[in-house]
Assembly symmetry: C2
Homo-oligomer: 315 residues x 2
C-alpha cells in the first residue's frame, strides 16, 4: 500500500468540495473560510486569514518504540509533528485535540506522562489541548497510538501551500539535516512555527511554496512538484547543511528533520531566521524532456535522481 496514492484515490471521490474549502486534501494542512466568518489576524490584518486544520498520528511499532523513547517524549513528538505542519503553512497554532489508545495494562500515572508530553508541547506553542479521547486495548501486545489534531489560523497574508514552486525559484532549507533518528533529534526537534511566520512576513509573495521535511528531502521535495512534470529540483550536495558526520545521501534520505523546505523567487535572502540558519541549496529548473526525475542532487559533477529517497509511511 502506498499512502499517497491511496489518499489521492480516496480524495478523488470527494468531488465538489464546498467553496468554503480554500485548500483541500494533499497539502500540509487544509484551509477553510466558512461563509459568514471573517478573520483579522494578530496584527489586525484582514484578507488572507482562515482556519487551518491537520491531523497526524504516531503508532507504536511504526513511528516509535517504547524501548527507544519515554512516554513523555512520545507524547511530545505526536504534538510537535502536527505543529510542524502548521509551520509549513506559515500558520499560527490555536488549539489541539488528542486521542490515545493505550495498552490494556497501562496505569493512570503512565497515561499521565504521555499526556504531559503532549500538553507541554501544545501549551508551549499556544495550541492548548481542548479535547480528546482515551481508549484502552483489550489484548496485551496491541500497540499504543496517539492522534493529534491541530487547528491554526492563517495570517492575513494567507497560508503558504506546498504546491506553488515556479521555474527559476531558489530552494531553501532551515536548520541542518540528517541523522535525526540515531541522534534523538526526532524526539526533541522544535517545530519551526516562528520561522515559518517570519519567513512569510519577510519574503511576502516571493515565498512561493513551503513544506516541512518529515519523510526525507528527496521524497518531500518531489511532493512539492508532483503535479507538474515540467519542473525539476536540482540540489547542490556541497550546499546541503548537514549535521555533523552526516553525508549528503543521509541528509537527503534520513527523514524526521522537521525543517522547512521552501521555494523562493530569486533575490536577496536573510541567512538566518530568528536563531535558525537559512540555506539556499538549489534551484527549480525546467525538466528536460524524457527525464523521469523530479529531484536531483548534483555531487562531484554527477546528477543523482533522489525522488525515492525517504520514507513513505503505510508502504
Amino acid at each position: 500500500m502506498h499512502e499517497q496514492a491511496l489518499l489521492k484515490r480516496i480524495f478523488d471521490r470527494s468531488k465538489g468540495m464546498s467553496a468554503e474549502v480554500v485548500i483541500g486534501p494533499g497539502d500540509d494542512m487544509a484551509m477553510l473560510r466558512p461563509e459568514g466568518w471573517s478573520f483579522n489576524d494578530q496584527e489586525g490584518r484582514p484578507g488572507g486569514g482562515g482556519v487551518l486544520l491537520a491531523v497526524d498520528q504516531v503508532v507504536e511499532g511504526v513511528h516509535f518504540s517504547r524501548e527507544a523513547a519515554s512516554l513523555q517524549e512520545i507524547g511530545r513528538k505526536a504534538v510537535a509533528r502536527c505543529l510542524s505542519d502548521v509551520a509549513a503553512m506559515a500558520g499560527r497554532p490555536k488549539a489541539s485535540l488528542a486521542t490515545v489508545v493505550l495498552p490494556p495494562g497501562m496505569g493512570d500515572d503512565e497515561a499521565m506522562e504521555l499526556f504531559e508530553g503532549m500538553r507541554v508541547a501544545a501549551d508551549t506553542f499556544h495550541a492548548p489541548i481542548i479535547g480528546g479521547d482515551i481508549a484502552a486495548h483489550h489484548s496485551d501486545g496491541h500497540p499504543m497510538s496517539c492522534t493529534v489534531t491541530v487547528m491554526a489560523e492563517a495570517t492575513g497574508r494567507g497560508a503558504v501551500s506546498r504546491f506553488g514552486a515556479q521555474i527559476g525559484d531558489l530552494v531553501c532549507v532551515t536548520g541542518a539535516l540528517g541523522g535525526s533518528l540515531p541522534s534523538g533529534r526526532h524526539l526533541d526537534f522544535q517545530p519551526r512555527i516562528g520561522e515559518g511566520i517570519l519567513l512569510h512576513a519577510i519574503l511576502s509573495d516571493r515565498l512561493h511554496a513551503m513544506i516541512d521535511l518529515s519523510d526525507g528531502l528527496g521524497i518531500d521535495a518531489g511532493r512539492m512538484i508532483a503535479s507538474d512534470d515540467s519542473m525539476q529540483i536540482v540540489i547542490d550536495a556541497n550546499r546541503l547543511p548537514c549535521h555533523d558526520e552526516i553525508d549528503w545521501r543521509a541528509a537527503v534520505s534520513d527523514g524526521e528533520d522537521y525543517e522547512l523546505l521552501c521555494m523562493v523567487s530569486p533575490g536577496e535572502l536573510p541567512d538566518r531566521i530568528l536563531d535558525c540558519p537559512l540555506t539556499v541549496i538549489g534551484t527549480v529548473r525546467q525538466r528536460p524532456a524524457g527525464d523521469a526525475s523530479a529531484v536531483l542532487v548534483e555531487s562531484g559533477g554527477v546528477e543523482h535522481g533522489v525522488d525515492g529517497l525517504g520514507w513513505e509511511h503505510g508502504s
Copy 2:
C-alpha cells in the same frame, strides 16, 4: 483506568486556558472564538457563533469487531459518532479529518471501502473530509482503528453545553432507546444534527443543556449534573420511549443510541422535531441530603439509582 477521571486529571493541569477557549475539555465539543475572528451564521445572525471541535475514535476489539460489521459500516460509524457530538451542541458541521491505522495485509480496495463509509457519512452531513492520514501496522493481529475530527460552527444562538441543567427542568429525549447493538442500529443511526439545531431554534434559552446518548442514559444523564450534587434527575420508566421488546433497564443501560437528551425549562414542547419524536421522560429536582444517586428511575413506585448503568470506555 476510568476514562473520565483520567481526562479530568489531565485537563486539570492545563490551567489558564486562553480567553479564546469558550468551552473547554469535558463537554461534547470544545468551542473557540479566536481573537480577531467573527462569525455570522447561515441565517446572518452574529453573536453566539464560534468554532466547535471534537475528536472521536473507534478501535477494533473495543468499539467494533470485523466479523459484526462491514468496513463501510465501520467507517460510517466512526464519522457518525463524531457528528452526534455536533448535534449535542446544536452545531452545524463544516469539515472533518480522518486517520486510520490498518492491519498490515489490508489491500487498497478494502481501505477504500472503509474510507467510502467515512466519506459518504461526512458528505451527507456537510462535513467533507478535508485531510487525513493512513498508517499500517507492521504485525498481524494488531487492531484497526479510525479517528475522526469534526469542525462545526455554533449558530448565532451559541452552542448548547451539556452542563446547564436547572432544578425544575423537564428531561426530554429524541427517538427511542435500547437494543442498539443487537439490532444493528449502532451502525446505521442518524446523527440528530437537524433536530439539535431546530430544538435550539424553537426552545431558545429554554434549552438549558444537551448531550448525545453514547454510553447509556444512566451514565450520560449523570454526566450532565456531575459537577453539582445539589441536583437529581428522576426518570419515569413508563414514559421511556423504548424500542420494541426493550424493557426500561435495557433502555437506560444499553448505550449507543445516539439520541439527544436535553434539559428544558417547563412549558409547552413540540412532540416531534422534524420526523423524530420528542418525549418528556422526567424532571430535575433538588437532591435529598445524603442521597448519592444523581439519576433515578421510578418504576412501580420504587426509585432505582441508575448512575452507573452504561458503558465507560477505557475502563
